[in-house]
């Protein structure tokens, strides 16, 4: 059979170093890529269904359980949506500042995990961080210590690192004392030094020369880098309030995935997450983070998904530096929560989870009972863009052996830090070329 008509299948059934279960399937007819599927087969857990009939006060605790890696993102988007429904938005002041500080903890923990434990092994040629540690123990140890600083923030403010207990609709149950937060300054200062060193180190890794052009979508916060609130904006003119999400973005159900696929009604696929945030909000970075990015040669926008590891490191500088500033200025919110009285309404909440924008929408009745719930996680929004990214990577790499091509594809997926537990409400990797 001639090369031109040969069909190849490349597949990975259980993709490693991602959160949750998924795989990949790619089929090539000759040199043409005929099919690309990111297969998310994590069993569905039906959160939107069992939220019906629950109380509006229960959403931070319940939706946190969608994801053990980014529970704070779920708590923040759900609380904001309920506060929006009840007409008490918390857009500024000490409660908002404390929320942002807690959220910095989650970004530090999640990004340290991804950069050092999940992503770096791809560049260093190891199957995982434990194997990296056998030859370069100090690299993995510094990553773990930075992660620990993030988790310490989560523990002091939230009560524990996974599924924090201190977040409620309206604010917090008990604010931390200044003394409790001051104990975090030293580990966070060390984490900031590690973050700066991480930007420098990751910028020296070997990146394939790739430039992809999906529409970038992120929140825009007039007060700083987008984390906890903002309008939804893109680099192609989208600029809407979270309440207009449905008018502009639709979710579709495809057969090969238990995660719904989101797309912009007018333009199709889009990308949310570190690359989009960095490229849209470069000017909003703290000077230390922007300077670190500039010294690493990153430029004001980044369109190479393989370089997302450098962008995450820049965001680690951003969040460690911001956390220190927030602690320095901290005054305990008094009272720790504002009163939120239910009313019959629809509320929307959008925040930036470490891996991208997370949108919640709830309809509640007059006594606060949830009538309808909708949760759109970042990985659902990114699925199409990741598949398009995979297709582009395979098209450029058809001369690689099956083994190398499989590895390259897996890496292309891990570039986006997909969270499958979140999105199914994700990965099996197969490259088909028989």
């Amino acid at each position: 059979m001639s090369e031109a008509s040969r069909t190849r299948t490349i597949r990975t059934d259980y993709l490693a170093r991602v959160e949750g279960e998924g795989g990949m399937y790619v089929r090539l007819d000759g040199r043409a890529v005929s099919e690309v599927k990111l297969r998310l087969y994590e069993p569905p857990r039906f959160f939107e269904a069992f939220l019906r009939g629950r109380s509006f006060t229960e959403v931070p605790d319940i939706t946190a359980r969608i994801c053990g890696i980014c529970p704070v993102a779920y708590q923040m988007s759900s609380a904001r949506a309920m506060e929006d429904a009840c007409g008490v938005p918390i857009d500024e002041g000490p409660i908002r500042d404390l929320r942002r500080l807690l959220y910095c903890g989650e970004w530090i923990e999640s990004h340290s995990l991804h950069v050092y434990m999940l992503h770096a092994p791809d560049f260093l040629g190891y199957p995982g961080a434990i194997e990296v540690a056998r030859d370069h123990r100090e690299i993995v140890e510094q990553g773990l210590q930075m992660k620990k600083a993030g988790n310490a923030l989560m523990t002091v403010i939230g009560g524990r690192e996974v599924h924090p207990i201190n977040v409620r609709v309206g604010g917090f149950y008990r604010p931390p004392t200044r003394a409790e937060l001051r104990a975090l300054i030293e580990p966070l200062e060390r984490a900031r030094e590690t973050a700066l060193a991480t930007v420098q180190w990751t910028s020296t890794l070997d990146f394939p020369d790739v430039r992809l052009d999906p529409e970038h979508v992120a929140l825009a916060d007039p007060d700083g880098y987008p984390i906890d609130l903002g309008r939804i904006v893109s680099d192609r003119g989208l600029d809407i309030e979270p309440a207009a999400f449905d008018e502009h973005i639709v979710e579709e159900h495809v057969e090969h995935s238990t995660a719904l696929h989101a797309r912009l009604r007018e333009r199709g696929s889009y990308l949310t997450g570190p690359l989009a945030r960095y490229s849209l909000a470069y000017e909003a970075l703290r000077p230390l983070a922007r300077e670190a990015a500039r010294e690493a040669g990153l430029g004001p926008a980044c369109r190479n998904p393989f370089q997302s590891i450098v962008v995450r490191a820049v965001e680690l500088v951003q969040t460690t530096d911001e956390a220190l500033a927030l602690i320095d200025a901290y005054e305990a919110p008094d009272p720790p929560a504002v009163a939120v009285e239910p009313r019959r309404a629809v509320g929307h909440g959008a925040t930036e989870a470490p891996r991208g924008m997370l949108y919640h929408r709830y309809e509640i009745d007059e006594d606060g009972t949830i009538l309808d719930a909708r949760i759109v996680p970042p990985t659902s929004q990114n699925q199409r863009a990741i598949e398009e990214d995979l297709r582009a990577v395979v098209e450029r790499s058809v001369d690689l052996s099956d083994e190398d091509l499989t590895l390259r594809c897996e890496q292309a997926i891990r570039n986006h830090d997909p969270c499958i537990s979140c999105s199914t409400h994700f990965l099996e990797l197969t490259i088909d070329r028989e």
Partner: protein
């Protein structure tokens, strides 16, 4: 010099949020020495390198919600010396066991436009409903120090020091003033399994039962003290351990009355 063969550890995932297996990676100070002392033979979230079983110790996260997973857990059991479930999903069915009280086809229609693409069981069940389990570690999420204790105990062939008394005992040891007695805040602490360290009352809120039922819980007595109505009592028992025997029975009793 060849020492004795390192014991092997495998980590398995079923329907879950990944938070409990993340607790292994959250052992920032102990992870690398753990990896020095045993062989992490299968842990797909951490490494693509896998070693063929059988495994000395398997940690299982998540509940059984599909026919495929019901088959898979039998294969895991057959390939494991010791099988330890970690967290509320694996031990009680998790929050997704709320489907056990509802119509799962209706659930699929609410979430998915094409429910025909979804294959799922009508129930979410704990691992022990399918295979023999050697030890169950409670919590949503588990306490990572308790996890370390359990792994260490099994590697050294001793019983884990994990107590089954109530959260109340942990509050007393921590010196937290009782939120129910002092502030009238409804609290599941008296019927909830210890292990978290009694975090919620230390943050001025009542325990919400994420570690599941303690040994011999008296839910009827607590409920009479709680000041909550029947509808709210159904809700407080129907969260992350809704499928655990005593919590399920309590919620069903309040639903009937």
């Amino acid at each position: 010099m060849n020492g004795p063969r390192k014991q092997t550890l495998a980590v398995w995932k079923f329907a879950s949020c990944d938070g409990c297996q993340l607790s292994v990676l959250d052992l920032e100070d102990e992870l690398l020495s753990l990896a020095d002392n045993l062989e992490i033979a299968y842990f797909i979230e951490a490494t693509s390198a896998t070693v063929e079983g059988p495994y000395d110790v398997s940690l299982v996260e998540g509940s059984i919600t599909t026919l495929h997973d019901a088959e898979r857990i039998r294969a895991v059991r057959a390939n494991s010396g010791v099988l330890i479930t970690i967290g509320a999903c694996a031990t009680a069915g998790g929050i997704q066991a709320l489907r056990n009280f509802a119509d799962v086809e209706e659930f699929a229609r609410i979430v998915y436009a094409s429910p025909d693409y979804i294959s799922t069981l009508a129930t979410s069940t704990p691992i022990s409903a399918h295979v023999n389990v050697d030890f169950e570690l409670n919590g949503c999420p588990i306490n990572k120090q308790q996890l370390l204790e359990v792994i260490s105990a099994y590697l050294n062939r001793r019983r884990p020091r994990v107590r089954a008394h109530s959260v109340c005992v942990e509050c007393k040891r921590r010196g937290t003033v009782c939120v129910m007695v002092a502030h009238g805040t409804a609290c599941l602490g008296p019927v909830t399994h210890a292990g978290c360290g009694a975090i919620c009352p230390a943050y001025n809120r009542g325990c919400y039962g994420c570690y599941g039922p303690k040994e011999t819980p008296n839910t009827a007595s607590l409920d009479a003290w709680s000041g909550l109505g029947e509808h709210d009592l159904v809700r407080v028992y129907r969260t992350f351990n809704a499928g655990a025997g005593p919590f399920r029975q309590a919620s069903e009793a309040h639903e009937r009355s």
